[in-house]
C-alpha cells in the first residue's frame, strides 16, 4: 500500500489522460475538464468528477471507466465522487482537447462560456469555422446535435454538415 500512496495525484492524472470520453473517444476525460481533483484518503484514491450537462448519460460510463483504468494500474481502492460546484464550463477544455475535436470533425467552442447573466436575444454574430475546410461561411441548422453538448451546423462553402461543441 505504501508504495501505491507515493503515487502523486499528478501521476494519476497522467494515467487518466488515457481514459477517453465514451461519446467522443478522441478526447480524454482530463482534456474535457471534468476531473476536478485526485486525492489519497488513506489507501483510497478519491477522484472527483463534475458532470458536463446534468442529463449527460455518459457520466455513469465515465465513472466505471475511471475506476477500471486505475485498477488496471494496481490501485484497487478507487472512489469516484461527483461535485456540482463550480459548474463545468467549456473554458476548461484543454488546447489539446480542442485540437483533437477539430481533427475529429467537431468544431470546438468558438466563444467563452455561455452568458448566464441575461437571456437577451442577440443577433448571431458567432462565427463557427468549418472543421473540415476552414471556411467561416457556416450556419446553424439545429441548436442541438447528436448529444446535449453539441449543435448542428452546415458549411455553405464545402456543403458538409458538422457538429459544433457548444460554448457552455
Amino acid at each position: 500500500m505504501s508504495t501505491l500512496q507515493t503515487l502523486t495525484p499528478h501521476r494519476i492524472m497522467e494515467w487518466l489522460e488515457h481514459v477517453p470520453d465514451p461519446e467522443i473517444p478522441v478526447i480524454s476525460v482530463v482534456d474535457l475538464g471534468i476531473i476536478r481533483d485526485v486525492v489519497w484518503d488513506g489507501s483510497t484514491c478519491t477522484v472527483t468528477i463534475t458532470p458536463t450537462y446534468s442529463g449527460c448519460p455518459a457520466m455513469d460510463q465515465i465513472t466505471t471507466d475511471v475506476v477500471a483504468a486505475l485498477q488496471a494500474r494496481g490501485i484497487t481502492d478507487v472512489r469516484v465522487e461527483t461535485r456540482l460546484s463550480p459548474a463545468w464550463t467549456t473554458d476548461w477544455l484543454s488546447d489539446k482537447g480542442r485540437q483533437a475535436l477539430k481533427g475529429f470533425g467537431i468544431a470546438p467552442p468558438a466563444e467563452q462560456a455561455i452568458d448566464v447573466s441575461a437571456i437577451t436575444r442577440r443577433d448571431s454574430t458567432l462565427q463557427v469555422p468549418c472543421p473540415l475546410c476552414g471556411s467561416r461561411k457556416t450556419r446553424l441548422v439545429s441548436h442541438f446535435g447528436s448529444t446535449p453538448c453539441k449543435a448542428l451546423y452546415r458549411c455553405t462553402a464545402c456543403g458538409e454538415p458538422f457538429d459544433y461543441f457548444k460554448a457552455h
Binding site: 446534468s54 442529463g55 460546484s85 437571456i119 436575444r121 442541438f144 448529444t147
Partner: protein, 254 residues
C-alpha cells in the same frame, strides 16, 4: 425535516421531470428532424435537473427515499409540479408557447436561486442555469420564427400563446412555503420574478409580431393548484405511462 424546503424541492424536481416527459413525447413525431433532436435534448437536460432536485429532496426529507422512489412511487396528489408543465403538447406551436413561458420563468428563478442561503440549492441552480439560458434563447428563436412566419403559422402561434397564458400565473404564486423560505434567504419571492419575466416575454412576442395576451398574471391566477397537489386530469395519464414499469415490476432494472 424542513417541510417547506422539501415541498419547494419537489416543485422544482416535479416540474422539470413532468416537462421533460412531455417533451420526450415528441420523439418520433417532431415536425422536422432538427427540431426533434433539439426537443429531445432539452428534455434530457430537464431530466438531469429533475434528478438533482429529487435527490436533494430525498436527502432533506431524511426518510431514505431516492430520486427513483420519488419519481415512480408517488401518486398524482403527491406531485407538486406547476400545472403549465402537464398541459398536453398540442401542435408544435402549442409546445413552443408553453416552453417559452416556462423557460423564461425557469431562467429567472434559477438565477435568483444561485444566491440561495442553502448552498446545496445554489449549486443545483448554478448547474441548471447554464442549460436553461440556452433553452430560453432557443425557445425565443422558434417562437419568433413561427410568429413572424406565414399567416397560418402566425395565427396558430398567437392562438397557442393565448391558450397557454392563463397557466403562467401559477409560476408567480407565493404561499406559506415560498414565503417561509424567502424569509430565510433560501428562495426568492415568486411574485418578484414577474416584472423581469413580463419584460422579456413582451420583447420576444414583439419581435414575433404576436400580441401579448391581455391578462394580469399578478392577481389570482385563473389556473392554480399544482404546487399544492391539485392537478388536472392530464397528470394521471402522464404518470400512468411513466410509472407503469416500476409499478408492475417493482425494482426492475436494465
Amino acid at each position: 425535516m424542513d417541510q417547506a424546503l422539501f415541498q419547494y424541492l419537489l416543485r422544482m424536481g416535479d416540474s422539470t421531470l413532468i416537462l421533460s416527459h412531455r417533451l420526450a413525447e415528441w420523439t418520433g413525431r417532431g415536425p422536422a428532424i432538427e427540431e426533434e433532436l433539439a426537443v429531445a435534448n432539452v428534455a434530457l437536460d430537464l431530466l438531469g435537473q429533475a434528478r438533482m432536485w429529487l435527490t436533494l429532496a430525498g436527502q432533506v426529507e431524511g426518510e431514505s427515499r431516492d430520486e427513483d422512489q420519488l419519481a415512480y412511487l408517488r401518486d398524482a396528489h403527491d406531485y407538486r409540479n406547476y400545472l403549465i408543465v402537464e398541459r398536453p403538447n398540442g401542435h408544435y406551436g402549442d409546445t413552443m408557447a408553453r416552453q417559452l413561458l416556462f423557460d423564461v420563468w425557469h431562467f429567472f428563478v434559477l438565477r435568483a436561486l444561485t444566491e440561495s442561503a442553502d448552498s446545496r440549492v445554489a449549486d443545483v441552480a448554478a448547474k441548471s442555469l447554464k442549460e436553461v439560458a440556452y433553452h430560453a434563447r432557443r425557445s425565443a428563436d422558434v417562437v419568433v420564427r413561427l410568429g413572424d412566419g406565414t399567416q397560418e403559422s402566425h395565427q396558430r402561434m398567437q392562438q397557442a400563446m393565448d391558450d397557454i397564458w392563463p397557466y403562467a400565473g401559477e409560476l408567480f404564486v407565493d404561499d406559506a412555503v415560498t414565503l417561509r423560505l424567502a424569509e430565510a434567504g433560501i428562495v426568492p419571492e415568486m411574485a418578484g420574478l414577474l416584472p423581469d419575466w413580463r419584460a422579456h416575454v413582451r420583447d420576444v412576442l414583439n419581435e414575433a409580431t404576436l400580441t401579448m395576451p391581455d391578462m394580469d398574471l399578478a392577481n389570482r391566477p385563473a389556473h392554480r393548484g399544482g404546487i399544492e397537489g391539485r392537478h388536472t386530469e392530464a397528470l394521471g395519464y402522464i404518470l400512468a405511462e411513466m410509472q407503469f414499469l416500476q409499478r408492475a415490476y417493482p425494482g426492475a432494472q436494465w
